[in-house]
Symmetry: C2
Subunit: 168 residues, 2 copies
Amino acid sequence: MPPRPDLVAAADDEARALAHDLMRKSHAALAYAEAETGLPGISRIAFGLSPTGMPITLVSSLSPHFDGLRTQPLCAVMLGEPGIKGDPLTHPRLMLRAEARFIAPDDPARPALRDHWLEHHPKSKLYIDFTDFAFVILRPLSAALNGGFARAYRLTAEDLNLPEDLRA
Amino acid sequence: MPPRPDLVAAADDEARALAHDLMRKSHAALAYAEAETGLPGISRIAFGLSPTGMPITLVSSLSPHFDGLRTQPLCAVMLGEPGIKGDPLTHPRLMLRAEARFIAPDDPARPALRDHWLEHHPKSKLYIDFTDFAFVILRPLSAALNGGFARAYRLTAEDLNLPEDLRA
């Protein structure tokens, strides 16, 4: 049973703006299917955007989700963490359904991704070029935005397209 | 390929203490299998402990993970959020593999769970008795603790048993 339709609204401008804001976070929680069992696994991931506003992460092959995403690219990403005060469930968060695509070391798109990533994740320069690290595009398929208690929206992949001025 | 054995240590006292500390958080991220597709889904959940130190959550039947956990009780829970400063991947987090068990409204165990829950989640008194809310025990099967970059531990269900003085 999905959430009752009357409780989940289609996105409006305010919901899209909140989603775009959450997409500019530098880390996220990732739900993936474990490679060996197919069962749900969860990891913290570094999160960023490509120069065109596409969600990406940088993953070590030593992490359990590396093989999980290789085996089952369909995954879910949650952005936005609770503040210090109040009920954590009232703080906004965005849940993306996404499809993971690994970027090969020699992919012509990698240098631009790398440069853009380093602007927002400067500390990753310590390991970004290790051979066991790879960029993974997390192409959004749809999303659910929970803006607080009883404020739920569904978003399409189009709703998640970042305006150009928010991509930097 | 799981993490290389030499990079993941068995739990020691320090790792267990850090895990127990993270288990006292009031919210978590949940990875579950979606009821209809079996694909990974992710949600923020309220998190707490039973009087005996068993992880529990309080879930609305309107949330997508309610049906997910009913269909596939095996799930994963991540506890611990990044601080404001530094690389988010260096902040400790605990990933529990757990089995969900729903507590029926007339379960004789519910009143004690309810009272204990309200001590730590006082704001939930607004909805705790709504008929669409249910307690769900999240029995830990095992866990991975990431204490920061290159500090990974595996923990057994026994390692996660909270000492009595930490259960209150």
